[in-house]
């Protein structure tokens, strides 16, 4: 189906199903209950799940297939964001041209940086991309202030031309990004008993883009081009003595992943029309590396899982504070309660990075293939159990 093998098509269907029903799946706990704070089904976070999913899927095409570890992909995401906001300022608040231009700008930008960085491989390539990204960040932060808004970031203003749309709404406000009138921030809320499910227009737009992005990535993985990229990772010497030029292949992978980053940046700006230099900073580049490795580099679904995991931790774990902890352990005797809370406290709230770091270390040490490998191990365990259970039955007639 759709040019995919059966297994890949099933995976695509699963991803479509999960994204379509995410507002239900991410809100399993009723409103007002103690566990409601673990609900992730609110628009802002769901948008982030799919947007960073796109970012990580693209990064995986470069890192997972070719093994070239870029530490500068946030620069393309940032460039895409700036491009999208400029479209909102100059053209109209329609998100489609904004997203299109963000992909184009990130593509051109990554062509330039990739062309230079790919002269080297291994650690030198990583350092070059890191240097370029930090350079871009510094430029966006200071020198290019007329284009990027500098420290305050690029924001919309009432005085923007918006030649194909209204410069301001009837009430004199700045208009919001929309898809032919459908505002990205508009949501449909559905109350079912104690549960509240939110269906957000922006989330579903981003989800559609992620599914397309995921589909393209499957096609690339299964194409001769994808095989060449894996060959580059495996043995560059044999690659060149087989008459293949690794450079254009890696450059193509670099540009494709840069365009994915640009798409993510454009979508980010479409959800919230502002762009800041901090999106280009190296910590943002490092985050997508973490996502990809945590989920499973070189696997199809891994990066999406990794992105979801990290964004969930960032938004949910960081919200747990000391008072909530005391609430949880209130049943313990007073002295013991304080001890337990003091022990757990460093790992929550602002300390969520610590939890994430420990988890990352555990994954890298015990599951080098990421969460996907963990899933496979569990699946293998179950299928073995099943096989053992059926064995005695099979030998019964002989007795």
């Amino acid at each position: 189906m759709l040019g995919l093998e059966k297994k890949d098509f099933r995976l695509l269907l699963i991803v479509i199903g999960l994204t379509a029903f995410a507002p239900f799946l991410l809100n399993p706990f009723p409103e007002g209950s103690d566990l409601a704070q673990f609900n992730a089904g609110y628009p802002d976070l769901m948008q982030r799940f799919v947007i960073f999913g796109i970012f990580a899927i693209g990064f995986n095409i470069l890192f997972g297939l070719t093994g070239y570890l870029s530490f500068g992909h946030a620069a393309f995401l940032g460039a895409g964001s700036y491009g999208a906001v400029w479209m909102f300022k100059l053209l109209s608040m329609n998100v489609l041209p904004a997203i299109a231009i963000s992909v184009v700008i990130a593509g051109l930008f990554s062509l330039l940086i990739g062309y230079i960085s790919l002269r080297r491989s291994g650690i030198y390539f990583s350092i070059l991309t890191l240097a370029f990204a930090q350079m871009s960040f510094a430029l966006a932060y200071s020198v290019l202030t007329p284009i990027t808004g500098g420290e305050t970031g690029l924001q919309l203003a009432l005085s923007d031309p918006r030649i194909f749309g209204a410069a301001q709404t009837a009430t004199g406000n700045i208009p919001v990004p929309a898809l032919f009138g459908l505002e990205m921030r508009s949501s449909f809320e559905w109350n079912v008993g104690a549960w509240l499910f939110t269906f957000n227009a922006g989330y579903y737009l981003a989800a559609v883009f992620m599914i397309i992005a995921f589909y393209i990535s499957i096609r690339i993985f299964r194409s001769p081009f994808g095989m060449m990229l894996r060959a580059i990772k495996s043995n560059q010497t044999r690659m060149s003595y087989t008459g293949l030029n690794a450079r254009p292949y890696t450059l193509a992978a670099f540009v494709i992943s840069g365009m994915y980053a640009g798409l993510a940046g454009g979508l980010m700006a479409s959800m919230d029309p502002l762009a800041g230099a901090e999106r280009m900073q190296w910590t943002a580049s490092g985050e997508v590396v973490l996502m990809t490795i945590l989920g499973g580099a070189g696997t199809l679904i891994g990066p999406v899982l990794g992105a979801g995991m990290i964004k969930y931790f960032e938004n949910i774990f960081s919200k747990i504070n000391e008072t909530i902890l005391h609430g949880w352990f209130a049943f313990l005797p007073d002295g013991l309660e304080d001890v337990v809370v003091a022990m757990i406290y460093p790992f929550i709230g602002k300390g969520w990075h610590l939890t994430l770091g420990i988890m990352f270390m555990l994954v890298v040490i015990f599951l080098p293939g990421g969460l996907v490998q963990g899933g496979q191990k569990i699946a293998a365990l179950f299928s073995r159990k099943k096989a053992e259970e059926t064995k005695p039955n099979a030998t019964e007639p002989a007795e």
Binding site: L4, E5, R219, R230, A231, S234, N235, T242
Partner: protein, 252 residues
């Protein structure tokens, strides 16, 4: 005029003259062995031929075209394939993928962006890959990971990857180095078969005299970066200069 004409190659590494005025002519449709004691410059010469090293002076003509200054992948596309001392294969890929890649390289050249079509739709390439695996008796191992193959199988796979490109010249760098006796005999048989069936010109660098004398039709002896003699195996065996060069190393 040979298929490969090497004229007056010089190469220095600092104070060391690795190659000094090397002339070599490899005729079409022969197996040409290059032998010599350690440090004679055999590997340096090979690296010049495949574009990994650029000599200080001299010329290398292959099939009427100059090889010097071209990148390894360009030289391969001209028709020179190389088998390495330790097999260079795509370890993380399956055996079948390993042979598909040179099929693509042969058909599409050094680069082609075919990112959307599926590998499974490339029936012609699949057939080609299957038939070469059949030729080297590895068809039943097609789905194995290349890294899990035995040393001998890795060598055969590498050979298959070179052969599927139908090269004009096959360069072999110590193809039996570190192999068990049985594997060595198998490799000799495989090379003989390739030579007879496909008529591919071969240049072999080898230490093992048993291998050299069972395969070579012409032999060049290198010593200290310069060719001593070039002759038929029979004449080389009794040549006094060769004995001198090898004195204390191997009984020729």
């Amino acid at each position: 005029m040979g298929l490969l004409e090497v004229k007056g190659i010089n190469k220095r590494f600092g104070g060391l003259q690795a190659l000094g005025d090397v002339n070599l002519s490899i005729k079409e449709n022969t197996t040409h062995a290059i032998i010599g004691p350690n440090g004679a410059g055999k590997s340096t010469l090979l690296n010049v031929l495949v574009g990994k090293l650029i000599p200080d002076s001299g010329s290398v003509m292959f099939d009427g075209q100059s090889v010097l200054g071209r990148a390894p992948h360009e030289i391969n596309q001209m028709g020179i394939s190389r088998v390495f001392q330790t097999p260079e294969i795509f370890s993380d890929l399956s055996v079948f993928e390993n042979v598909m890649i040179p099929c693509f390289a042969k058909r599409d050249g050094a680069f082609r962006m075919h990112a959307i079509e599926s590998i499974f739709a490339e029936k012609g390439i699949q057939q080609q890959a299957e038939s070469i695996l059949d030729d080297v008796n590895m068809l039943e191992k097609r789905d194995m990971l290349a890294s899990s193959l035995s040393r001998g199988d890795k060598r055969r796979l590498e050979m298959a990857m070179c052969l599927v490109q139908d090269p004009k010249l096959l360069l072999l760098d110590e193809p039996t180095a570190g192999m068990a006796r049985a594997d060595t005999q198998n490799t000799i048989a495989l090379l003989k078969e390739i030579r007879e069936k496909r008529g591919i010109t071969m240049a072999i660098i080898e230490h093992d005299m048993n291998v050299v004398f069972s395969l070579a039709e012409r032999i060049t002896v290198l010593a200290q970066g310069t060719p001593l003699v070039e002759d038929t195996p029979d004449n080389i065996k009794g040549h006094p200069k060769v004995r001198e060069a090898y004195l204390g190393e191997t009984q020729v």
